[in-house]
Structure formats: structure tokens, C-alpha cells
């Protein structure tokens, strides 16, 4: 007997390891956004909340459109994207090799893992005054905050990615007589790469957060700076609009990295 279509859809949607089409997936995701938007619209247009606390979606849209037209929005996005990408690339370029090293050699693990763990637990915001002292309100100060906030976590996560390389892969490399360097280059790194990519994708989100924190506190440009200024003048529409822009940027980056992951590592199929 053939299972009915409705039942198959139900199973796809709600059972562990179920499968649904990409279209269905998008419809569900988009609906959640639309429902939230509708609630927001209803609450504001019914006058339940004063616009100073929560402006209507339309008002925010108009404000953002205006800022986009006069170029303010693009200028802010450009500066912030530049800072976050630069800071993140610096942190990652340092963290990946060091993480691989710690994950491979017990010497480097003993030398650096406890240190990274120690620093990782220091709250990043506590470094804000220090970084301003050292680097003022320059871009360098933003890079520093992003670096402090992501580098140490990345090192530990990459180390973990490397340690998860199946021991039999390493055994295989050894029985094939590979040198230590070749074992690293041809087996350990390729094997850990999908995991490392995932680490980068996740930590990029954190880099955004640290950038905005840094810009909120000390900056004369960027998305975070505009949010601080708008709050000073009670421009709640700008504040919320920019927060939404940050969300959209984050979502775009994440989707881009996920799409790249499917291209780069088609064999590392994750569930769902």
C-alpha cells in the first residue's frame, strides 16, 4: 500500500532524520519571518506601544530607505564589513595553523592549550578600556577586540576539529609510509577541513558581535557607531533599523558560507 502524501509530508517534517524539499523549507522559514512581522505591525498600528519604544515596520523601512538613498547606510555597512572581515581574517589566519599544531603535537598542546583556555575565560568587554588605551578609536582597536574575542576560541575549536580525525586515517597514512609532514598535509588537514570551515562559520558570527560592541563604545563610523548616535537623539527607528540590518548581514554571510561548504566539501554531508 502506498503511504498517503499527507502522511509522508508529516513524517518528513516532524520525525528525526526526516527529509523535505528545499521549497517547503523556504516556505516555512519565510512564514516565521512574516508572522513576526505581522504581529509587530498589528501591535504598533493598534497603538499598543508608543513609537518611541517601538516604531511601526513601515516607519523603519522609510527611514532606512532614506538613509540608503543619501548613502549613509552604505557608508556604515562598508566600514563595518571592512573591519569585521579584516579582523576575522587576521584572527583566523593565526588560529588555524596554531590550532592544527596543538591538535597534532602534545608538546604544543601542553604549551598553549591551558594558556588559551585561561585567556578565553576573560570577558572580552573588560579589554575595551585597555584596547582604547593602546590603539585609541582606530580600526586597529576594532581588530584587536575582534581578535581577542575570536582567536582563542578558534584555536581551541580547530584543535578539537583536528583531534576528531579518525585514528585509522592516521594509521593508514603511517602504513603507507608517509612522512610526518605529508601525513599532516595529505590526511590530517583535508580530513579536518570541513570541521574547521564550520568553526570559521560559527566564529564569524561572534566576530560581528565583538565589532558592534567595539563600535558602540568607541568609534566615529560604522553600524555600531550609528546605533549609539541614534539612541542619543531618541531615533528609535534608526536603532532598530540598524539592528535589523546587522541581522540580515549575518544571515547572508552564514548562508554564503553554508553554500560554499556544499561546493567545497560535497562529501561531508550533514543531516538535514
Amino acid at each position: 500500500m502506498r503511504r498517503s502524501k499527507a502522511k509522508a509530508l508529516w513524517r518528513g517534517l516532524f520525525t528525526t532524520g526526516g527529509e523535505i524539499g528545499r521549497g517547503t523549507y523556504l516556505v516555512i522559514s519565510a512564514s516565521v519571518f512574516l508572522v513576526l512581522l505581522a504581529i509587530w505591525w498589528a501591535v504598533t498600528s493598534a497603538g499598543l506601544v508608543p513609537p518611541l519604544f517601538l516604531p511601526a515596520p513601515g516607519a523603519i523601512w522609510d527611514k532606512l530607505a532614506g538613509l540608503a538613498l543619501d548613502g549613509t547606510l552604505w557608508g556604515d555597512v562598508e566600514v563595518s564589513v571592512y573591519r569585521v572581515v579584516a579582523g576575522f581574517v587576521i584572527a583566523s589566519a593565526m588560529a588555524v595553523p596554531i590550532g592544527v599544531l596543538i591538535g597534532t603535537s602534545r608538546f604544543w598542546e601542553a604549551a598553549l592549550e591551558p594558556l588559551a583556555d585561561f585567556i578565553r575565560y576573560m570577558p572580552v568587554v573588560a579589554f575595551l578600556p585597555l584596547t582604547i588605551l593602546w590603539a585609541g578609536t582606530t580600526d586597529l582597536q576594532k581588530f584587536l577586540i575582534i581578535w581577542i574575542g575570536t582567536f582563542f576560541q578558534q584555536v581551541l575549536m580547530v584543535m578539537d576539529n583536528v583531534k576528531r580525525v579518525p585514528p585509522d586515517f592516521i594509521g593508514l597514512g603511517r602504513t603507507l609510509g608517509l612522512s610526518e609532514l605529508k601525513l599532516q598535509m595529505k590526511i590530517v588537514i583535508p580530513s579536518a577541513l570541513p570541521g574547521i570551515w564550520d568553526t570559521l562559520r560559527i566564529t564569524f558570527g561572534w566576530a560581528w558581535t565583538w565589532l558592534v560592541v567595539a563600535e558602540l563604545v568607541a568609534a566615529d563610523s560604522g553600524l555600531g557607531y550609528r546605533i549609539t548616535v541614534s539612541q542619543r537623539y531618541f531615533e528609535t527607528d534608526v536603532t532598530i533599523g540598524y539592528i535589523l540590518v546587522l541581522g540580515v548581514l549575518g544571515l547572508l554571510c552564514d548562508q554564503m558560507m553554508k553554500a560554499l561548504e556544499r561546493v567545497l566539501f560535497p562529501y561531508a554531508k550533514r543531516r538535514g
Binding site: 579518525p166 585509522d168 586515517f169 594509521g171 593508514l172 603511517r174 602504513t175 603507507l176 609510509g177 608517509l178 605529508k182 595529505k186 590526511i187 583535508p190 580530513s191 577541513l193 566539501f265 560535497p266 562529501y267 561531508a268 554531508k269
Partner: protein, 254 residues
């Protein structure tokens, strides 16, 4: 015939267990020897030591009369976990080993394709491991281990994770390949039928500490086919080997 692999009085202890006690075993050239025994008697430990992947405390291991000093291309290993590199296609997985063994580009491809045909996977040369079934993956792994012509092939329960049907298929394939290629094989299994079907000789190990208990010569004619399993000679031998292993199970419970 000349001894190919000699294991001489090997001892190995882990922190709390004596895994191997005075284990000696010699494999002649082109001999197929199976190691059987209850779980925990040290079969995998012995195999890893011979592969050079695990250190041991005392003893000597000689390949072709020369002392073994670590893992190397003279001993091929087929792991239970398949160990195909997921970012390489079936063909590229075999070429990977061939390149490590010093073969050049075009030659690699030719040898890889030959060996894929040998395990009847020519059509799947460009498939990635995740697109292959467990049995197919293990066939690629066997093809890879054969491709660079190691002197000794070490296999630790290579068919352990496969269902009964696929297992039989793989056993048939392995005997066929072995009968064509002639190769010295040390094969670990806990499936006595499999051991009798494949081997020239069966070595039964025992626990506490792990050591060699008895050996059985398998005097069944070759080439072997699955029909042989139901002959009285086969069943009698299988019974004797099983009885030897069962003694350990009983004394375990006592």
C-alpha cells in the same frame, strides 16, 4: 617455503592488562593464516603491533628476515572501519596509496583501474565513499591494500560490520583474489566459518594473558567455493575450532 613474517616471543602489556604473553607465530610465503579467539584475547593488539602501529614490550618481528622497525609499505592493512578518505573518489583513494608507494601519474591510474576491476567496481571508479555501500567501501579498501603489492596483508575483522549476505560475497571475492595473486595474509576474525573457509591455517588464541593456544591446518582443496561449507570435512574442522574457543568462554564464566 621461506618464512615471510616471523613473530618471536612478543609481549605486550597495557596499564592494567597483559594483552600478549610470549606470542610466536610464523607465516610462510603466500600462506593465509587466520587468528581466532574470544573477544579481548589480543588479536587486534597483535595485528596492530605487526602493522607497526603499536609499540610492544619484548620480542622480535621479522619481515623477510629483516627486523621490523615501524609501519611501512611492506605490510598493507585493511581496517574494519574501511578508512577510505572521504574527499577522494574510489579511484583516487587507490591512487593515493600508489603515489605514496612511489608510482608515477599515468601508471597510478592504470594500476588503480586494474584493481577496481579486480574487486568488480570498475563502474564506481568516480564515486565518492559516501556513495558506496559498506561492502563496496571494503572492496575498495582491499583493492587499495593489494594495489601496491605489500609483502604481507594484515586484516582485522574486515567484514565484521557487514551483513551475512555481503560477508559471504566478500569471502568469495577474497579467496578468488588471493588464489590469483598469492599473498601472505594475516586475518583476524571471530567468525570461525569464515576462518575455515579462507585459511590455510587457523591459530586459536586464548585470554588472560593473551597467548596462542592451538593451531589447525586447513586441508581443504582449492579453489574453494561456498559449496565447501556444507561438506563433512569443513563442518568437522569448524566444530573442532569452535570447541577450542568455547572452552575459554566456559572458563570465563567459572
Amino acid at each position: 617455503m621461506a618464512p615471510k613474517l616471523e613473530i618471536k616471543s612478543v609481549n605486550k602489556s597495557f596499564k592494567r592488562t597483559r594483552a600478549l604473553s610470549d606470542v610466536s607465530l610464523t607465516l610462510r610465503e603466500n600462506e593465509f593464516v587466520s587468528l581466532v579467539g574470544v573477544s579481548g584475547c589480543g588479536k587486534s593488539t597483535l595485528l596492530s603491533i605487526v602493522a607497526g602501529l603499536l609499540d610492544y614490550d619484548e620480542g622480535d618481528i621479522l619481515v623477510d628476515g629483516a627486523p621490523m622497525t615501524g609501519p611501512g609499505l611492506d605490510r598493507g592493512v585493511v581496517f574494519q572501519s574501511y578508512t577510505l578518505l572521504p574527499w577522494l573518489t574510489a579511484r583516487k583513494n587507490i591512487e593515493f596509496a600508489l603515489k605514496a608507494a612511489g608510482h608515477k601519474g599515468a601508471e597510478c591510474r592504470r594500476i588503480a583501474d586494474e584493481h577496481l576491476a579486480l574487486v568488480r567496481l570498475a563502474k564506481f571508479a568516480d564515486s565518492y565513499p559516501h556513495e558506496l555501500s559498506g561492502g563496496m567501501k571494503q572492496r575498495v579498501a582491499i583493492a587499495r591494500a593489494l594495489s601496491y603489492r605489500p609483502k604481507v596483508l594484515l586484516m582485522d575483522e574486515p567484514f565484521g560490520a557487514l551483513d551475512a549476505m555481503t560477508r559471504h560475497e566478500m569471502q568469495t571475492l577474497l579467496t578468488r583474489v588471493w588464489e590469483q595473486h598469492k599473498l601472505t595474509v594475516l586475518f583476524v576474525t571471530h567468525d570461525v566459518e569464515e576462518a575455515v573457509y579462507l585459511s590455510d591455517r587457523i591459530v586459536a588464541m586464548t585470554v588472560g594473558p593473551g597467548r596462542i593456544k592451538t593451531e589447525f591446518k586447513v586441508d581443504l582443496p582449492r579453489p574453494r567455493t561456498q559449496e565447501i561449507i556444507s561438506t563433512p570435512e569443513f563442518m568437522a574442522l569448524q566444530k573442532r575450532v569452535l570447541a577450542t574457543i568455547r572452552e575459554d568462554l566456559v572458563s570465563d564464566e567459572a
